[in-house]
């Protein structure tokens, strides 16, 4: 086995080009996921009738079915739908002109919302009900209480899971390749095909992924430490 470091470094440079784009998309998806996931979790915790049953089915479907199937479904319905919708309001757009980035965003955000709803629900189970009462007793509205007391405390639990999710999305974006968005792994594969150096390329990709993770960890750990201030351990 002859390992070529030169090729590996060159590949790292190529692969790095995909990082900002991949990261940005992933972050966007996570944010949307947390937002909607939060709403879903709220409905579940409150056990809003009917709505929470619908939500349950939605979550179990979206979570359960492989991403590739979701992509396939969205890819084969969203552009068509959008095209006929636009036509109805007088715009002309061929289905295949539909921006693939939107397909990625829509599909992944749905999935992420389902996943985050469960993470958030778990985090909320860790809240001491007396903390909620303390907030109410000084006259907080539910929303103020949520923002000032509950979310900061739940965040200490949820944050590492959000990082888990972000890392997963960054990787799962390699599937988004199916709809033509190039991510880190795809970039590495092209490099490998050209150089015929597979090992070097994969290791390069791994290092880049790991590097991103390292940076994220520094940021997330900082926030987590802050959130844990004064916590009971």
């Amino acid at each position: 086995m002859n390992f070529d470091f030169q090729v590996m470094f060159e590949t790292i440079l190529i692969v790095l080009q995909a990082v900002p784009r991949t990261f940005l998309i992933a972050f966007l998806i996570l944010l949307v996921g947390i937002l909607f996931g939060g709403i879903i979790a709220f409905i579940k915790i409150k056990q809003v009738p009917i709505l929470s049953q619908i939500i349950n089915v939605f979550v179990s479907y979206v979570r359960g079915v492989p991403l590739i199937v979701h992509l396939f479904v969205v890819m084969s319905s969203l552009p068509e739908g959008a095209s006929s919708l636009l036509k109805a309001v007088g715009f002309e757009m061929q289905p295949h002109e539909f921006p693939s980035i939107l397909i990625v965003l829509v599909t992944y955000s749905f999935l992420e919302a389902a996943i985050q709803s469960e993470n958030i629900r778990g985090a909320f189970q860790s809240i001491d009900p007396q903390q909620i009462e303390a907030g109410l007793s000084i006259g907080f509205t539910r929303r103020q209480n949520l923002r000032r007391i509950i979310i900061p405390q739940a965040m200490a639990v949820a944050l590492p899971m959000f990082l888990n999710a972000l890392l997963k999305i960054i990787k799962a974006l390699s599937l988004a390749f199916t709809v033509g968005a190039v991510d880190i792994m795809a970039q590495a594969r092209f490099a490998a095909a050209l150089s015929s150096r597979y090992l070097e390329s994969y290791i390069a990709a791994a290092l880049v992924y790991w590097f991103i993770c390292g940076i994220l960890l520094i940021v997330f750990n900082k926030i987590e430490k802050r959130l844990q201030l004064g916590s009971t351990r």
Binding site: D128, Q130, Q131, E133, A134, G135, L136, S137, I138, G139, F140, T141, R142, Q144, R148, I149, P152, Q153, A156, L227, L229, G230, S231, T232
Partner: protein, 247 residues
């Protein structure tokens, strides 16, 4: 000022408040006494709408609310007239002492940060804990946490203060200090309801004593009456411990 009518509350089939009727005048300091598990805490919590009573109506100031049809907005309105000191303190564990006291001032009363901090420091000084402002609740002793709980409620300057055994973790010296603070505040016309099992404290702090047992109000009246000449046999029995508690 406060008017409770027919308050009932049941926990999983266990009726804890069995129709409480109580009228409290503005500026009165009410001592709520009675055996453990009688419903004192629960009553305070229903007044603060932390627990929604199953039946009955609650009036605070001008606003009357029927518990059977109360909206979230009404509850918040009512709560903003009151402040509560909890039996087990319930400080915000992720906030420092100073932040604990400032929180309501900033968020609810929309005070500026500077003003809130000024008020907070005053109240914390009153309970003798200025050296702990940067600490987190877990780093405080029981009595220290209890005093911060009092400071947090005081800082809000509510119309009604609900205090749940506010001196349970305080030594006599500190209890006396708290007593003085409460008496001073009472002079400003603030109405107070204090659940307590320290009869001495009840006697000196209040001008209206309510003796509860088993979800009922057994007897109420002036401290003199309740502690020296109660009309009910059960009250007599309960308060006579006071004279010679451990003999």
């Amino acid at each position: 000022m406060i008017n409770l009518k027919g308050i009932e509350k049941t926990f999983d089939g266990n009726k804890v408040l069995k129709g409480i009727n109580l009228e409290i005048k503005s500026g009165e300091v009410v001592a709520l006494i009675g055996p453990s598990g009688t419903g004192k805490t629960t009553l305070l919590r229903t007044i603060n709408f932390l627990e929604k009573a199953d039946k009955g109506s609650i009036t605070i100031d001008e606003l009357t609310i029927d518990n059977e049809q109360v909206s979230e907005k009404d509850m918040i309105l009512m709560r903003r007239q009151t402040a509560m000191v909890f039996q087990n303190y319930n400080l915000f564990r992720n906030k420092t002492i100073l932040e604990n006291v400032m929180e309501g001032l900033i968020v609810v009363q929309k005070k500026s940060k500077e003003e809130a901090e000024k008020i907070a420091r005053q109240e914390i000084e009153r309970v003798g804990l200025l050296d702990k402002v940067e600490q987190y609740p877990i780093e405080l002793s029981g009595g220290q946490q209890q005093r911060i709980g009092i400071a947090r409620a005081m800082a809000l300057h509510p119309k009604v203060m609900l205090l749940d055994e506010p001196t349970s973790s305080l030594d006599p010296e500190r209890s006396l200090e708290v007593l003085k603070v409460l008496q001073k505040v009472a002079k400003t016309g603030m109405t107070m309801v204090i659940a307590t099992h320290e009869m001495d404290f009840a006697k000196y702090v209040s001008n209206h004593v309510v003796f509860m047992e088993n979800g009922h109000i057994v007897e109420e009246g002036s401290p003199e009456k309740i502690f020296t000449d109660p009309s009910q046999e059960r009250t007599k029995q309960f308060v006579q411990e006071l004279e010679n508690p451990f003999t």
